[in-house]
């Protein structure tokens, strides 16, 4: 594992639980690594698995999708759909040779600021172990 490598992770958080959990980590001043960049969506069910491909293609070294715990989805069942989609997408990427450690999914509720911090640390560690994602990173085109 390259300790100096600072991975970039794109996180998709649902507005109601995980984004609120991330806010709580903030209000509780829990320090975590700055490697994760958050994109807010209304529900984990909104996260199109193709976003994940796009993020890896843009140069992200890992992705995180986080939603409400099963049964707690603000939209009743979006997280259940997300769970199916990402377990499959993860398998597909694994089959192509992408380290599955780059693809993280979690359930973080609005009250789990501490868990959010842990998840960030795990995701960063996972991406660090996997190393820089170069496999299908988009090459700069110099016209």
């Amino acid at each position: 594992m390259n300790e100096d490598f600072e991975p970039t992770i794109v996180a998709f958080l649902c507005n109601w639980c995980s984004y609120a959990g991330a806010d709580l980590a903030g209000t509780s001043r829990m320090h975590y690594l700055p490697n994760v960049r958050i994109i807010r969506v209304m529900c984990s069910g909104r996260v199109n698995p193709l976003f994940l491909l796009n993020a890896l293609q843009q140069g992200a070294d890992g992705v995180l999708i986080s939603g409400c715990h099963p049964g707690d989805c603000h939209y009743l069942e979006g997280n259940y759909y997300a769970r199916r989609r990402f377990v499959l997408m993860r398998k597909l990427l694994e089959h192509v040779g992408v380290d599955p450690g780059r693809i993280n999914m979690s359930w973080v509720s609005a009250s789990e600021g501490a868990k959010f911090k842990d998840i960030i640390e795990k995701a960063v560690e996972g991406a660090k172990e996997s190393g820089p994602m170069e496999q299908f990173k988009r090459r700069k085109i110099n016209w």
């Binding site: 600072e6 991975p7 970039t8 794109v10 507005n15 109601w16 639980c17 984004y19 609120a20 991330a22 806010d23 980590a25 903030g26 209000t27 001043r29 829990m30 320090h31 975590y32 690594l33 700055p34 960049r37 958050i38 994109i39 807010r40 969506v41 209304m42 529900c43 069910g45 909104r46 996260v47 199109n48 698995p49 976003f51 796009n54 993020a55 890896l56 293609q57 843009q58 140069g59 992200a60 070294d61 409400c68 049964g71 707690d72 603000h74 939209y75 009743l76 069942e77 979006g78 759909y81 997300a82 989609r85 509720s109 609005a110 009250s111 789990e112 911090k117 820089p132």
Partner: protein, 674 residues
């Protein structure tokens, strides 16, 4: 798409030093100024303040801004504030995008350079997205002018009365046969020592008699559908096996019941007994008898004595009816108040206190019944009575124990229950009052007398000669055959372990989320905080709201509270519900999904996925051919966007969260900074 070129204003908030202390706001301002489409980039100490908002509004008016980025706190905090500011200038409020550089940047990172760089990226992503945002129209739907209140304790009673008084319809649904809740079980209330029944029972009668309140006791909500303003609830009215209209509440039936005084009374916490046909307590409202279907011989065995059920035979009003069935009622309401209350901690879970083994170890609530004038001993403090309620003795040495089931991680209840310190002080006082010669000792960890008049009361109680020993007992066991209980405890101020002998121990049991909390969550789609109680929308600013619009919380279902706090929250919930009802209209989500009918292939995956049934396939004419395409009902759509991820071609998209609006964010944020 508007034809005008985007003119973006970027506003970086210092939030005092909350942001500026970690993030170099000048650098971010400079960075933002060079981003495509940005015409003005500023920073200011508090963007949410009046002058901060004016700064934005002036720029919109003077510089013709048509897109605004505010980089400050979480959008969950101030998005509505800034949207409103945009709207005041006539700009569509949905041309706003926020970058969260406080909760998710300055507050969580220490490295200033990295935090600044992240803030720049977050602003850049917001710019990338705002370029593609569209103007959205806010729509309103009518609000059914009625409220459903669940739970008939003091919280539900107060909320129902407030709404009914304002002139609107209330359905008050209570699970047990009577309203009153836990407050009805209490003897006196701290710190004023008002008689609980004296202040509560008039309100109980009021809810029953109020023309605007439909009181549904012994009833439960079975299902809830719909959305803010237009909920449809199904309520099961359980069979009482007593004709509600005929019963006069005379009680002759109960006296004749073959199980008279054979069933532990829930109201008396099992200290007193009741019959199978019963009124929970003398002041119950409604004063109508109910047959316990799990205990009644006729209902469980199909046979009661040789002569048949005595209750039926003795009832002069002919009210007993064993053929009664549950009824299902549908009600339409605009708002819902959840006031389902709490359970007291089950002291059996603390084995070391021997609650299950020793009858002279009792819970605080049991003690309330013991000391209450309406209780099984008529208010006499007599313990150790036999099953028939005879015998017993007056305790001489009484120990009270704080924090039983509260502040205890090993039991999973880390929180403070907020009422135990004071109710134990009150109970200690009541003992001194009734048994002046008794030795009363309170074992505590900390005394939390934070409320109005609490500290004064605690002071008074101590001066009455009640001994407070700092140390939480570790175990209680019985010594020999007499009543003596040994409380093993350390006086932590002296550092002396001791074996305190008592003949009555009262456990200051805490408050817990109700056993059926999961069912209520599933019913109303509520969330739980880590302590298991229901989660409010914001811990400070929206303490009665839930994440579901139109559903409010009142009382201990949201967390332990004393009576004044419960009543205050109930009034708050009533006022929130009334705001919606009185206005008569409510804004519905503007960020709903929309279908591009030309691209939709009509597969219906979105229809399957939509949890709100907001999408259907409708026939449409595509160049002369009739085809099916998806169509969104905007009143039902909540904008979650699950449909968009299911759609293979991207033909359905939630507004403000479209693929084409998210991909540019990914393009900015996904780049690794080397």
């Amino acid at each position: 798409m508007e034809s005008t070129r985007p003119k973006i204003g970027v506003y970086i908030c210092h939030c005092g030093i909350n942001i500026a202390g970690v993030v170099d706001v000048e650098a971010v301002t400079e960075y933002a100024s060079k981003l495509p489409g940005v015409v003005v980039s500023r920073n200011y100490s508090y963007m949410c303040s009046d002058p901060g908002q004016t700064l934005i509004k002036d720029d919109i008016r003077e510089k013709g801004l048509n897109r605004v980025i505010v980089a400050s706190c979480s959008p969950r905090m101030h998005e509505p504030t800034f949207r409103k500011a945009l709207a005041e200038t006539g700009l569509n409020p949905y041309y706003l995008e926020m970058a969260n550089i406080r909760e998710q940047c300055s507050w969580v990172h220490e490295d200033k350079a990295k935090a600044t760089e992240k803030a720049e990226k977050l602003v850049e992503a917001a710019v990338a997205k705002v370029l593609l945002l569209e103007a959205l129209e806010e729509k309103e739907v009518d609000v059914t002018p009625a409220c459903l209140v669940i739970g008939g304790g003091i919280a539900g009673i107060q909320a129902a009365l407030d709404i009914a008084e304002a002139g609107f319809k209330v359905y008050l649904v209570e699970k047990t046969p009577s309203v009153g809740g836990h407050m009805a079980q209490l003897d006196k209330t701290f710190p004023t020592l008002d008689c609980s029944a004296c202040i509560l029972t008039p309100k109980m009668v009021d809810v029953a008699n109020h023309p605007n309140i439909e009181l549904m006791t012994y009833s439960q909500v079975e299902s809830v559908e719909g959305y803010v303003g237009n909920f449809k609830a199904t309520v099961r009215k359980k069979a009482r096996y007593v004709d509600f209209d005929k019963c006069t509440g005379c009680g002759i039936c109960a006296e004749n019941c073959r199980l008279l005084n054979r069933i532990p009374s829930e109201f008396d916490e099992g200290i007193g007994m009741r019959s199978a046909i019963y009124l929970p307590f003398p002041q119950a409202v409604p004063a109508k008898y109910t047959i316990d279907p799990e205990r009644c011989l006729q209902l469980t065995k199909g046979k009661c004595g040789k002569e048949g059920p005595a209750c039926k035979a003795s009832c002069q009003a002919d009210a007993v009816n064993f053929d009664q069935k549950d009824e299902l009622l549908e009600i339409d309401v605009g708002t819902i108040i959840v006031a389902t209350g709490y359970d007291v901690f089950d002291a059996k879970r603390k084995h070391e206190y021997g609650y299950a083994e020793n009858p002279n170890v009792m819970t605080g609530l049991e003690f309330e019944r013991l000391v209450s004038a309406s209780g099984p001993t008529g208010g006499k403090i007599i313990v150790g009575r036999d099953k028939k309620g005879e015998g017993g003795f007056e305790p001489k040495k009484i120990a009270f124990i704080h924090c039983v089931g509260s502040r205890d991680k090993s039991l999973g209840n880390e929180y403070c229950s907020r009422v135990c310190c004071m109710y134990l002080a009150k109970q200690a006082h009541l003992i001194k009052d009734k048994l002046p010669d008794a030795e009363v000792t309170v074992f505590y960890m900390d005394v939390r007398a934070f409320g109005k008049g609490f500290e004064e009361f605690y002071d008074r109680v101590r001066r009455e000669g009640i001994r407070y020993i700092r140390g939480n007992p570790s175990e209680i066991y019985k010594k020999g055959d007499d009543h003596a209980l040994i409380v093993k405890v350390e006086d932590t101020l002296l550092g002396t372990p001791m074996e305190y002998e008592a003949d009555l121990v009262v456990l200051g049991v805490g408050l817990e989320p109700r056993q059926d909390v999961r069912e209520i969550i599933d019913l109303f789609k509520l969330s739980q905080s880590t302590d298991g109680f229901f989660l409010e929308a914001h811990p400070k600013l929206r303490p009665v709201d839930t994440a579901s619009d139109g559903i409010f919380l009142a009382g201990c279902c949201q967390g332990p509270k004393d009576i004044p706090d419960t009543v205050a929250q109930a009034k708050g919930a009533a006022s929130s519900a009334l705001t919606l009802i009185a206005r008569g209209k409510v804004k519905v989500e503007a960020q709903v999904s929309a279908v591009n009918a030309d691209e939709c292939r009509g597969c219906g995956l979105c229809v399957e996925v939509c949890p709100f049934g907001a999408i259907e396939l409708v026939e449409t004419n595509r160049q002369g051919n009739i085809v099916n395409v998806a169509s969104v009902n905007e009143a039902l759509c909540k904008g979650c966007g699950s449909c968009a991820s299911a759609c293979l071609s991207g033909a359905i998209q939630p507004k403000s969260f479209k693929d084409e609006q998210i991909l540019p964010q990914i393009a900015v944020l996904g780049v690794r900074t080397e």
